[in-house]
Amino acid sequence: MGLAAGGAAEQRQWPPLNNDGVHDPASPAVKLLQDPAEALSKLPPDTTGNQVRWVEALEKGSINPRTNVFPETKVTVLDLDVFLSLRGGMPIVRFPHRQHTEWLDCANCHEHLFKSKAGANKFSMFQILQGEQCGVCHGAVAFPLTECNRCHSVPHAGFDHSRQTGKQD
């Protein structure tokens, strides 16, 4: 604790396990398990969620989590952006497969949460806020749904609509 460098990082605080309202202070575990502050204070800072930019942590090499435990598992990363919400009032959504597939396998989302076929999915912020679709992770373990512009990140003005759908491999 207290080893983090950088201004923003030093503002971050994580409740210790013995006072987080989840762990039983009487449990022997609170003396043995790592406190979040010890690990998370060393990672790229964010203002919400775990207060860690997890994708950045991976890309910078701050962490190097294992991709598989079975040697035979095929590890897939797909570098393909999908643009969504082209006609909404909010900026266009850019969904980057690469950052998602660094963490997740294709089968975590396809085909039960999202069809692979471009244009085949009907997205709904109502559903997402209910913990469905993107909301299975965003709002639970990935950055929360208060971070509108991290997904709605592409201005309508000047957007090349030929970049949209039907270009998957």
Partner: protein, 127 residues
């Protein structure tokens, strides 16, 4: 129609207070208590933050077949002892073995199964 709105807000507040959602939980902490307390041990606290530093989501949610919904997985100690679910790593070789009951069964008594919120959030839309 002001009074009903006020009433609903108050009821929601009371419900939230009664739900006992721990304010200091780390984002993504999962409580497993479908069976734990009935079996006489503390609820399990699973911290996503600790595990994702070491393993990508795909390891547990694809290779080990944990469904991505709190409460959707029937994790039995018998399976863990057989090397399934947590037991793939918690076997005394990759991580501590299942004889260290207290290290996982470390939650406050009475916590319901679910995934918790954390900094700046009140948790996911559906628990």
């Amino acid at each position: 129609m002001r009074p009903p709105v006020l009433l609903l807000t108050t009821l929601l507040g009371i419900l939230l207070a009664l739900s006992g959602a721990p304010a200091g939980a780390e984002y993504g902490d999962v409580v497993l208590n479908k069976r734990a307390e009935k079996e006489g041990v503390r609820p399990v606290v699973f911290p996503h933050w600790f595990h994702r530093i070491r393993f990508r989501c795909k390891v547990c949610h694809n290779e080990l077949e944990f469904k991505m919904r709190a409460g959707a997985n029937d994790v039995l100690m018998a399976d863990i002892l057989d090397g399934k679910f947590c037991g793939m790593c918690h076997n005394g070789r990759i991580a501590w073995g299942p004889e260290n009951c207290d290290l996982c069964h470390s939650g406050k008594p009475g916590l319901p199964t679910g995934i918790l919120g954390g900094h700046g959030t009140s948790g996911p839309g559906r628990w």
